[in-house]
Amino acid sequence: MRKYFSRERTQYMFGVLSRPIDSFYEIRYRDKGSIPLAVICVLCLAVLFTVNRVFAGFTVNEVNPLMIDGIAEMSSFFVLLGLFCVGNWAVTCLMEGEGRMRDIITVAGYAMLPITLILGPATLISNFISIEEAAIYQILLIIGIAWTAVLLLIGIMTVHNYTLAKALITLLLTFLTVLILVFISVLVLDLLNQIYGFFYSIYTEIIFRF
């Protein structure tokens, strides 16, 4: 436990914000990363995302409160990032990427840090602004998302020892892989559902006969 949440590892996590290339390098080649910390990052983001949708100020909130399903939204973050990690790992394995699965997970988690840190204060601020000042809130969010995107790109570049162009290509391929993954899993689920239906109908048939 100590190992995962040591002061040093936490410092490296926040170091990602200011010196992303160096920090991701250390994370990859000197094992300064921590998967639990990455998961906590994503968890915080997932919670804050739903909190933002519910508690963002009336003037900027365009979400129907009756349509919010907190559990589904939170788990979708994990599913999406999980798919990204698996897809990226699958692609980079074939494209001479040096990153291991745990590096990819760490990068994906740590990259969410800027938006996680900004979302909370932004939600708070949104309750004290009028419509004319909504731009402040929007700019905050845009900064957070852009920063996160840059971190993700730099992280993927660094842990796999890629050039920028190659990193961009792998990200595109990752996206395609995720689509294929979703397609196959839907197919499998449907198949399993049909198998279940088949056995269930046999079961009911037997029950009604005897």
Partner: protein
């Protein structure tokens, strides 16, 4: 044993009797309740475009078939107009006549079958539209005779037929369906298959031009496919022609309300100024097209765009639209906010089978049905009356008085956003920012909420700016003092150390 049985029997009989009496007294109550319920859904859409059921704003009144009036049954009636003296004119299309009813709808004032056309006796052929001006001149769209005639005192005073103009082409077939006239004597005619717009005619019956043309919008996607497809495919594909107008009404200021069928269900009515430009206000959700297109099985009774076939100006900036697909009547205020929806298809009294036209007679709404061959009236309830009253007060600029009425509306339907927003706006004007915020939030009025919020925030800042600044100043001073003291101490410690070292 027998005696016990007997007493028990007596007891049962007594209970049964008591119960019967109880039920008998309760039954009329039940019956009254049943009469209160209406044979259709009454609802509105809220800010999130979900269906909110409301109390009935209007309940079915009478159904008038013509037989009770002693003039024989109506046959395929297509047009209705309420004159300024509240008498009702019905274009009884299938019977080739115009019926004029007194305002109580119980007596017939006149049945126009024949009239004097410059000395010869003439008659109508399937008249579909009727309109009466303030001086009593009756304009009739005499559809199958391909003309519009104006009657005064049983004589034709004006005939519009076979209009000639370059843009109309050589073999133009003039088939008028609806007609209306503004205070300046301009005649507006909806003609069959006339996609260019409403035809306007001058006082002498000469063709002036088209009015209120609806422009076709082609999406980028459709343009892309058209670019890809061949000539033959394009010829067989869907035609991009403007939708035609379906119904007309004119308000006292001379603005023409024209309904049209909108496949997207967004805008099914236009308010045209004398130049023919649409000046309709569309409300916060930009939607004046009847039902908001909803998809999915649970909302199937409401899904798909409405088929708006007529419009009636209701006074005070309000207007009602008639949907022929689901038999609903939608009423909007002058800002384009949806007020209430009532009406429906069915077999019961007060429902439609094929609605064709709508008109407003004071507080009553009148509608024609071409399959039932009936005139159906709708009477306002307390709920509808209060909304109408509040909208009228607001239209007249009397927001403060409207508040009391809105409060009563809220007592009947506390989900009514317009009422909340109305009250909130009044509080905003009165400077009650906190109350205004509460009501405007319930009314989903973000713009005005923002204003109220800003004022409230400023007030709080103004009240507390004194101690906030003092506290800030104190903190800064305290920090500096502590810092200086710490520095000095460190310095003195070093000095002492130095002393010690020296010693």
């Amino acid at each position: 044993m027998q005696a016990v049985y007997a007493t028990q029997k007596k007891k049962t009989i007594v209970t049964v009797l008591v119960l019967t009496v109880l039920i008998m007294t309760l039954l009329p109550l039940q019956a009254a309740k049943a009469a209160d319920s209406v044979p259709y859904d009454t609802y509105t859409y809220d800010y999130w475009e979900t269906i909110i059921f409301t109390p009935a704003p209007y309940i079915p009144g009478e159904t008038i078939s013509g037989v009770s009036l002693g003039v024989g049954a109506l046959n395929d009636p297509q047009g209705i107009y309420v004159a300024s003296d509240d008498s009702v004119y019905i274009a009884d299309t299938g019977n080739n006549r115009i019926l004029v009813l007194e305002q109580d709808l119980k007596t017939v004032r006149d049945v126009i079958v024949t009239f004097d056309n410059n000395g010869t006796t003439d008659s109508f052929n399937k008249p579909r539209g009727v309109m009466v001006t303030g001086d009593g001149t009756i304009y009739v769209a005499d559809t199958e005779n391909r003309r519009v005639i104006a009657l005064a005192g049983g004589k034709v005073v004006k005939t519009i037929e076979n209009p000639q103009a370059e843009i109309l082409g050589e073999n133009f077939d003039f088939v008028p369906l609806k007609v209306t006239v503004d205070y300046a004597g301009r005649v507006f005619v909806i003609a069959r298959d006339m996609f260019q717009g409403i035809m306007t005619f001058g006082e002498d019956g000469e063709f002036i031009g088209f009015y209120g043309t609806i422009n076709v919008t082609i999406t980028l996607w459709e343009r892309f496919w058209r670019a890809l497809s061949t000539q033959e495919q394009r010829a067989r594909g869907r035609l991009f022609i403007p939708t035609v107008f379906t119904g007309l009404d004119v308000d006292p200021a001379g603005f023409v309300y024209a309904s049209n069928i909108d496949g997207d269900g967004k805008q099914a009515v236009r308010r045209l100024n004398p130049k023919g430009e649409d000046v309709l206000r569309k409300g916060s959700n930009e939607h004046v097209g009847g039902d908001i297109a909803l998809f999915g099985s649970s909302a199937s009774a409401y899904s798909g765009p409405s088929n708006i076939i007529d419009v009636a100006y209701r006074g005070n900036g309000m207007y009602s639209l008639l949907d022929s697909r689901r038999g609903r009547i939608f009423t909007y205020d002058y800002e384009g906010n949806l007020l209430y929806i009532f009406g429906g298809m069915g077999q019961l009294a007060g429902t439609f089978r094929q609605p064709t036209a709508i008109a407003a007679q004071k507080d009553r709404v009148l509608a024609l049905d071409a399959v039932r061959n009936e005139l159906i009236t709708f009477e306002e309830t307390l709920y509808g009356e209060l909304i109408n009253e509040a909208v009228a007060l607001r239209y007249g600029g009397d927001e403060a008085q409207a508040v009391e009425v809105w409060q009563q509306v809220l007592r009947l339907n506390e989900n009514f956003e317009l009422a909340n927003a109305g009250i909130g706006k009044a509080y905003l004007t009165a400077g009650e920012n906190e109350l205004a915020m509460e009501y405007l939030k319930k009314g989903m009025d973000k713009q005005n909420y923002s204003i109220a919020f800003k004022r409230w925030r400023n007030d709080i800042l103004k009240e507390n700016i004194g101690w906030i600044l003092t506290a800030a100043l104190c903190t800064i001073t305290a920090f500096t003092v502590v810092r200086v003291v710490l520095k000095k101490r460190k310095g003195s410690v070093q000095d002492e150390g130095g002393d010690v070292f020296d010693a």
